[in-house]
């Protein structure tokens, strides 16, 4: 149990996908203007990451590893994730229209998002078990969501500010993102400490 707690803290705070691994920067900057779209995006990422890591684990362990094909895993993962997201998009529109209305426009945006691929890659490297992989994906997605929600909250406040012309828009967003990453550096070592404490 404590192992999963450490995994959670590690993925959400210490090795936050956006703020310390710098994966998924595109949606982090692109859909963080408003809190409600940020929440929608976070939901979509949780959904896709969990599904993608489950599928890629199966591909990895049932097709690639038995045949000694680890060296083409990136190619296989991209292929699988891209079609998976497309499939989820179509199926969701049919069976869960309210959920699709909430997350729909974000799904195509994360088809080949580096954060999604990153989770698969890290699971591949770590040679983790199935449940562990899926849990790690969930934790990573929650970390991404946390960063996105915090960032969008700050950006909503920044909208009301009146910065110098050259700082307006994405410039100030990047500066803010950098400061947020610095702030998250404060969590480094938390997982080690937790490990020792438990």
């Amino acid at each position: 149990m404590s192992y999963y707690l450490i995994l959670l803290v590690g993925a959400v705070l210490v090795n936050n996908f956006v703020l310390s691994r710098f994966l998924g920067c595109c949606p982090f900057l692109g859909v963080s203007k408003r809190m409600d779209t940020a929440l929608g995006m976070s939901g979509a990422v949780v959904f896709v990451m969990v599904a993608a890591s489950a599928v890629t684990w199966c591909i990895d362990n049932w097709i690639l590893k038995p045949n000694g094909l680890e060296y083409i895993h990136t190619l296989a993962f991209i292929l699988v994730i891209a079609s998976l997201v497309q499939f989820i998009d179509i199926a969701m529109k049919r069976f869960l229209p309210p959920l699709h209305a909430a997350l729909g426009i974000f799904l195509p945006l994360i088809t080949t998002n580096c954060a999604v691929l990153g989770v698969a890659e890290l699971n591949f490297k770590g040679e983790t078990g199935f449940f562990e992989s899926v849990f790690f994906a969930l934790a990573a997605a929650l970390g991404f969501g946390l960063a996105l929600v915090i960032f969008s909250g700050i950006r909503e406040k920044l909208e009301h500010a009146n910065p110098p012309r050259s700082f307006r828009g994405i410039a100030l967003a990047l500066v803010t993102g950098g400061l947020l990453a610095l702030a998250f550096m404060g969590f480094s070592g938390l997982d080690k400490g937790l490990e020792r404490a438990l």
């Binding site: 909503e156 909208e159 009301h160 500010a161 009146n162």
Partner: protein
């Protein structure tokens, strides 16, 4: 009857300089009827009254000239005998134009004109009268709240049957700087307030009565204690700490009975309270016992350029310039003229505005007492948060509205704002925070009205297609 100190002190609030000494010692003086009166049809909250006279008519004091137009509305009566010169749009203190009846009081009455007695209301022996009779009289007399907002009194006194009034709170706080009209009224006409309280108590089904007076008016407390000495039932005079905005309905309720009025659209009656200004209470007594309509009120004319600051009993509809002339004119040209108090009043750009039933004061201020400022960006100091008596976040609201983001302001509960001005008062960056709140509120109200209209239109369309 007993006198108690308030045991509830609301959080927030400010202490502006009161300057009440200018007019507090001046007894109420009745002003002679001026040559011209301009009586607005929109002297209250809600729909303007429907004007029923036209140019050339001769009207008598107390004659009905504006009919109540809808539920939230009040009738309007002529304040003096005279000839209707015109019915035209005139600007009011709040900057809104409203139909006004212009009366020339110097004209002689034509022989065909009915006598004044024809319009006089008969006194009612209220102890034996029914509740409906009393309410009808209050409506006939055209009484609306005299504290400032001008809410129709009849509406306030007829709560829906499922809600019971437990407390009648009489508001004599008068927390606005400069104003002393209510203070003089309590001092000189405490017996009228007592009569009014007894009548209202009867109408509301005998609730407990709380009379709220700020601690800086001890003379008024003495006068009230004398007048109420032998009253029966649960009556208390509550002495409130001196703090602005103690006179706000919601804060008054909290200070006297410790109840908190929830967010709009909830009203004081939802927590079992009805709050009326002392002026309204006295007006009710006059209307019932003497048959006098609400056609005159006490207005404080004060400020440092006024030669003789005074509390003037003047007919409703008298021009500000006439009032100022009655107060001895000005020693220098005022830099700012405010209708109402300095915290919540309206700055006006001309003295050619007529008073209404809610004009509690006219302040003419010199350059010395007017603070000239330029607004600057918010420095996030948080003083407005501490000052806000509604516990809102005025800084966030003002910044959002400044960036045209009314939705965020609405999420920050801007609709609960009572526009008391405490935030603007304390702001070190001199931001016009209250004005931002007002702007957000008006655009939210406009949006809600538009939505309602659209919904009504859609349902009408559905009906017709059926």
């Amino acid at each position: 009857m007993r006198t108690v100190k308030s045991s509830f002190k609301f959080k927030g609030g400010v202490h502006p300089a009161y300057h009440k000494e200018l007019a507090r010692g001046k007894a109420i003086e009745r002003m002679p009827v001026p040559a011209e009166l301009a009586i607005s049809m929109s002297q209250h909250l809600g729909a303007p009254a429907k004007c029923i006279v036209k140019a050339g008519d001769y009207v008598r004091r107390g004659q009905l000239i504006g009919e109540r137009n809808g539920f939230i509305s009040v009738s309007v009566r002529a304040s003096a005998d005279g000839l209707v010169k015109a019915v035209e749009k005139r600007i009011g203190a709040s900057g809104q134009y409203a139909d006004s009846v212009i009366i020339d009081t110097t004209a002689t009455a034509p022989e065909a004109a009915p006598s004044a007695e024809a319009f006089a209301l008969k006194p009612i022996a209220w102890r034996s009268a029914t509740r409906e009779e009393l309410l009808q009289r209050i409506e006939e007399a055209g009484i609306s709240g005299m504290g400032g907002a001008g809410f129709p009194t009849v509406v306030k006194l007829s709560p829906p049957p499922n809600k019971r009034c437990e407390y009648l709170i009489v508001n004599g706080a008068e927390c606005e700087p400069y104003l002393t009209a209510d203070f003089r009224l309590m001092l000189e006409r405490a017996d009228r307030i007592r009569a009014g309280v007894e009548i209202m108590r009867k109408i509301l089904g005998h609730p407990a009565v709380r009379i709220a007076v700020e601690a800086n008016k001890p003379e008024a407390v003495v006068a009230l204690e004398k007048a109420f000495a032998d009253i029966e039932g649960n009556v208390e005079i509550v002495i409130l700490p001196v703090l602005y905005p103690q006179g706000s309905e919601k804060h008054q309720i909290y200070a006297t009975v410790g109840r908190i009025v929830p967010e709009p659209p909830q009203l004081p009656i939802d927590v079992g309270c009805v709050v009326e200004n002392v002026g309204t209470v006295a007006a009710i007594a006059d209307a019932v016992e003497k048959g006098e309509c609400l056609v005159e009120r006490i207005t404080t004319v004060s400020g440092d350029v006024v030669n003789e600051p005074k509390n003037i009993l003047a007919p409703v509809g008298v021009k500000y310039s006439d009032l100022v002339a009655f107060a001895g004119g000005t020693s220098a040209a005022p830099v700012k003229v405010i209708s109402g108090g300095t915290m919540m009043g309206f700055a006006v750009s001309t003295l050619e505005i007529a008073t209404t039933k809610t004009t509690s004061g006219i302040l003419l201020l010199s350059e010395k007492s007017v603070f000239q400022f330029t607004s600057q960006p918010c420095i996030n100091c948080g003083r407005c948060l501490r000052a806000c008596p509604m516990r809102l976040n005025p800084a966030a609201i003002s910044k959002a509205v400044e960036a045209d983001d009314v939705a965020t302001a609405e999420r920050a509960h801007v609709m609960s704002c009572i526009e008391c001005g405490a935030c603007s008062f304390v702001c070190p960056a001199h931001r016009t925070i209250t004005q931002f709140c007002r702007r957000a509120k008006s655009s939210i109200r406009a949006r809600i009205a538009a939505e309602k209209a659209r919904a009504a239109e859609a349902s009408a369309k559905k009906e017709s297609s059926k």
